[in-house]
Amino acid sequence: MSTTEPGATHAHARPTGGEDVVLSATGLGLRIGGATIIDDVSLAVPRGELLGVIGPNGAGKTTLFNLLSGVARPTAGRVHLAGRDVTSSSVDARARAGLGRTFQTSNLFVGLTVRENVRLAAQAARGGAVSLLRFPRRQDAATVDALARLEQVGLAHHAETLAGGLSHGDKRKLEIAMLLAAGPEVILLDEPMAGVGSADVPGLVEVIRSLQREHGATVLLVEHHMDVVLDLSDRLAVMHHGSLLACADPETVMADPTVQSAYLGESA
Amino acid sequence: MSTLVLLLVTGVGLGALYFLVASGLSLIYGLMGVLNFAHGSFLTLGAYAGWEVSRRMSDGSWLSLVLSLVVGAAVGALVAIATELLLIRRLYERHVEQVLVTVGLALATVALFDGIWGTDAVYVSGPAWLDETSGVLGAQIPHDRFLLIGVAVAVLLGIVAFLRFTRFGLVIRAGVENRSMVTALGIDVRMAFTVVFAIGGAAAGIGGVLASQYFGYVSPQLGASLLIFAFIVTVIGGLGSLLGAAIASLAVAVLQQLANFYASGTGDLVVVLLLAAVLLVRPSGLMGARA
C-alpha cells in the first residue's frame, strides 16, 4: 500500500452534544412472522463520526444496515437521513441522498470487469449514468477516478479482470473501491475485513480512516476484528438480540461485563 | 342449471388434462429449474407409443388401454432419461442453455415425428364406455372426463408421495441452488436429477396417452399444442408447487370454459389476462415458495 500514509496519529474525535446528526433511527423495529429481529432501536450518528457496531452473530447488525439503507422496510420506527425522513424511500433514493454501503458477502457485477464495476459507481455518483448520448471513455472523469480508487485499495493490476474471477479477499477490496468511487457522505460497512488477508488489513484500515478524515464521511462499521474496530471507532454500539445494548465510547463498552461474556467470550 | 353443471364438470376434466400435462413439467421446472420445451415431445411420443400398442392389441379393450398407459409412461421415462443424460447433464446450472437445448430438441423431434408418422393425425379409440355419457344433474358428462380426473389425482398423489418419502426432493432443491456443494456433501446429485427427469417423462407419457384418448387422435403437434397451457398453469401455480399447479389447472380450465360459453369464446384471452394478473399481484405464483 504505497498510496496511504502509514502511522497517521490516532485520536478519538468525540461527538459533542447538539451537533449535526446526519443519520438517525427512532424506535426502529422489524418483525418477520412471529420473530422480532430488530427491537426498538434508536440511534443518532453525528456528521463525521465513525461508529463501530458490534454484537454476537445474529444480533441484528446486518439487518439494522438493511433497514437504514432501505434494502428492508421496518415494521416500526423511522429513519432520518440528513434531516429528511427516508423511512419509505427506496434503496436508490437513499443512495442518491448520500448513503452508501457494502455487503457482508460480496455483491458485485460479476460479469463485468473490475474497472467497469468501479466506473459504474463513480458514474452513478457524478450523475448522468443513464445517458444515451454520452459514452464511457478512457479519459473521462469517472474512469480516471475509478482507476485511482483501484490503485488505492491495491487492485489496479486486476482492473481488466472479471469481478467474478477475483479471489474472495480481492472482492472485499473491490467493494471498498466502489464505495470510494461513489463517495457517499454516510457509509455503512458490513464486515469489510472478513476474509481480507492480514497483510492487507492495515492498508484497508487506512483507507477507511481516510474516508472519515479526509472526505469527512460518516461511517458505521460492523466488524468482528476487534483490533480494527477499536482502532477506528469514535463510539461503539452494541447489538444483542435485536436491541441496542449500549452506545458509548469504546472503553466504557469494552468494560461492560455483558459485552465481555456475550460477545468477546471472556469469562472475566 | 344443467348447462352450468356441464361446464363445471367438463371444466374440471379439462383441468385434469392440463394437470397431467403440467405435472411433469412442473416437477422438472420446479425442482431443477429446467423449463423443458421438449416436454410436449415426450408427451407426443408417449401418445404414439400408446397408439402403437393399442393398434397391435385388439382396439378398444380396457387391457389395451392399461397397457398403452404403461408403455406410454415407460417410453416417456426413457426419452426423458436419455435427454437428461445426453443434453441436460452437460449444462447443469446453466438454465438458459438448458432451456435452449430443449427448444432445439422440441424443434427436431416434432419434425422427426412428421417424418415417421406423417403430418396427418392418426385416430385413436379406447374402450367404448369412455365415449358414452352419464347424466349428472341433467348434464350429459362424457365418461372419459372421469378417467382423466381419476388419473390426475393418482399422479398428483404419487408425485407428492415420492417427494415426501424420499430424499430426492431435498437433494434436488439443494442441487439446483448449488450443485457442487451437494456433491461436496457426498451426494450423487446427477443420479437424483436423472430420476426426477424420468418421473417427469413418465408423467408426460401418461398425459400423452390420455390426451390422445381425450382428443381421439395423435399428431406430431399434439404435445406442443398443450404445452403453452401447461406453461401457464405451472407459472400461475407457482414455482415447484405441484399442488399449486393442480389448483391453477382447475382454475384455468374452468375459467376458460365459462368464458368460452358466457363471454363469446374469449377463453384464451381471459387465461392470458389471468396469468398476467396473477404474476403482477403475486410474482411467485399462487403457491410459489420463493419470493
Binding site: - | 376434466g13 379439462l14 396427418d120 382428443f215
Partner: protein, 373 residues
C-alpha cells in the same frame, strides 16, 4: 397468341414451371396429393410426352413448408430466373402473397387447393385450379332445399377459414331467406362441450360445420355426446381420406358435401386420373383434382399462349374443358373455377368408412357470384 413462327423458335427450349407447395410442414399431406395430381394431370394433358407443341414442360418443385416468407422467396427466385408460370401451394396464407407476386411481376399464377374466396378475382394473373369456400357452402345450401325461414347455425373455428365460411353461408343462404347464426370456437380451444351447448341453445334447423385441423375428432365426439344430431341435420365438408375415421360415432349421421372423392365423379378423365395415380402408387384424394386440373391448365396455357403471359392469361380465360370432376370452366371475369360439387355419406366398410355418392350438384348451382361486382 403469338405467331406460329415465334412458337417454333422457342420450341426447342423448355417451358419452366415453378411448383411451390408444402413438401414438409403441417400441410405436407395435402402437398403430396397435390403433387401427385399435378404430375398425373400434365401427363394426361400431354399424352404422356410432357411436351406441348414440341416444347418440354419442366416442373421444378420446391418446398415452402407452409411459410409464406419462404414461398415468396422461392417465387422471386423462379421469376427472377425467367420462369413465367408459378403454380401451387396448399395454404391460403401462402397463396395470397404468391398472387400478389404474380401481379407485381406479371406472370401467370395458378393457385392450388387454397380455398380462400379472396383468391378469386384478386388480379388478372391469378387463376385457381381448385374449389373455393363459396362452392362448399353453396353445396350445403343446395342440400337444404328452400332455406327461407330456416335457422342455420354455422359452427366453425374463429379464424379466417371459419369466418370465411360463416360469411359465405350468410351470403348464400341468408340471401335466400335463411336466418344464419354462427358459433365460432377459439382456434386453440380443446374442450368443445360448451360450444355444442351453444348450438343446441340456438335451436337450429341445419348445422353447417366448417372445421379443419387435428381437433376434428374431438369436436365431432362432443357434438355426438351432447346430442346435436338429434336436434338438427348436420352437414360438413368431407375432408381427405386420412380423416374418414375422425367423425367417429357421428359418421353415418352427417350429410357431407364434397369437393372430390375417388368414387364421386363418373367420367373418363376421372377414371384416367385414378388409374394413373394408382399406377404411381398414390391414393386419389381430396386434392388430387386440384393438381390434375393445374396440369391441364398449364398444358393448355402453354399450347395456346406460348411463352407470353398475356396470351396465356387470355387462353385460360373462359376456357371450358373436361376435368376429373366433369365439365369445368375458367370464368373469364374473375377466374373462378366453375365445377360440379358432390353430396356424399360415409358408410361403414369393415374397420373404416368409405364415402358414397348421394348426389352430384350442378356446377352452375354452386357457382360463386362474380367477384368484385
Amino acid at each position: 397468341p403469338s405467331s406460329d413462327g415465334d412458337d417454333s423458335a422457342e420450341g426447342s427450349s423448355a417451358v419452366d414451371v415453378a411448383v411451390i407447395y408444402s413438401e414438409t410442414g403441417p400441410l405436407a399431406a395435402y402437398g403430396a396429393a397435390y403433387r401427385a395430381g399435378l404430375e398425373a394431370g400434365l401427363d394426361y394433358a400431354t399424352d404422356g410426352t410432357g411436351e406441348v407443341d414440341g416444347q418440354a414442360i419442366e416442373l421444378s418443385f420446391s418446398d415452402d413448408a407452409g411459410d409464406s416468407a419462404k414461398a415468396v422467396s422461392l417465387a422471386k427466385d423462379a421469376i427472377g430466373s425467367g420462369t413465367q408460370i408459378v403454380v401451387g401451394t396448399v395454404s391460403s396464407g401462402v397463396a395470397l402473397p404468391l398472387a400478389e407476386q404474380a401481379e407485381q411481376n406479371k406472370i401467370l399464377y395458378i393457385s392450388g387447393p387454397a380455398a380462400a374466396d379472396a383468391i378469386t378475382g384478386i388480379n388478372d394473373y391469378t387463376f385457381r385450379s381448385g374449389r373455393q369456400t363459396y362452392q362448399d357452402v353453396a353445396t350445403a345450401g343446395a342440400l337444404l332445399g328452400d332455406p327461407s325461414g330456416q335457422k342455420v347455425v354455422v359452427f366453425g373455428q374463429d379464424n379466417a377459414f371459419g369466418q370465411g365460411n360463416a360469411a359465405a353461408v350468410d351470403a348464400v343462404l341468408g340471401a335466400a331467406g335463411a336466418d344464419v347464426q354462427s358459433v365460432l370456437v377459439p382456434e386453440d380451444a380443446t374442450e368443445f362441450t360448451p360450444f355444442a351447448r351453444r348450438i343446441l341453445d340456438a335451436k337450429p334447423d341445419l348445422v353447417f360445420v366448417a372445421w379443419a385441423g387435428d381437433t376434428t375428432a374431438a369436436m365431432w365426439q362432443s357434438l355426438s355426446q351432447q346430442q346435436v344430431f338429434d336436434a338438427a341435420p348436420v352437414t360438413t365438408g368431407l375432408a381427405d381420406v386420412a380423416s374418414y375415421n375422425a367423425y367417429g360415432a357421428a359418421s353415418d349421421q352427417i350429410t357431407f358435401l364434397s369437393h372430390y372423392f375417388a368414387d364421386g365423379p363418373d367420367n373418363e378423365v376421372n377414371d384416367a386420373m385414378v388409374a394413373s395415380l394408382e399406377e404411381a402408387g398414390e391414393t386419389p384424394d381430396l386434392f388430387s383434382p386440384d393438381g390434375f386440373v393445374a396440369g391441364q391448365m398449364i398444358a393448355h396455357a402453354v399450347a395456346e399462349g406460348g411463352g407470353d403471359v398475356d396470351a396465356m392469361v387470355a387462353a385460360l380465360e373462359g376456357w371450358t374443358f373436361d376435368g376429373p370432376k366433369g365439365e369445368t370452366t375458367v370464368r373469364a371475369e374473375d377466374h373462378a373455377l366453375i365445377q360440379p360439387m358432390y353430396a356424399a355419406s360415409l358408410v361403414a366398410d369393415g374397420d373404416g368408412w368409405t364415402p358414397e355418392l348421394v348426389e352430384e350438384i350442378d356446377a352452375d348451382t354452386v357457382a360463386p357470384p362474380v367477384a368484385g361486382e
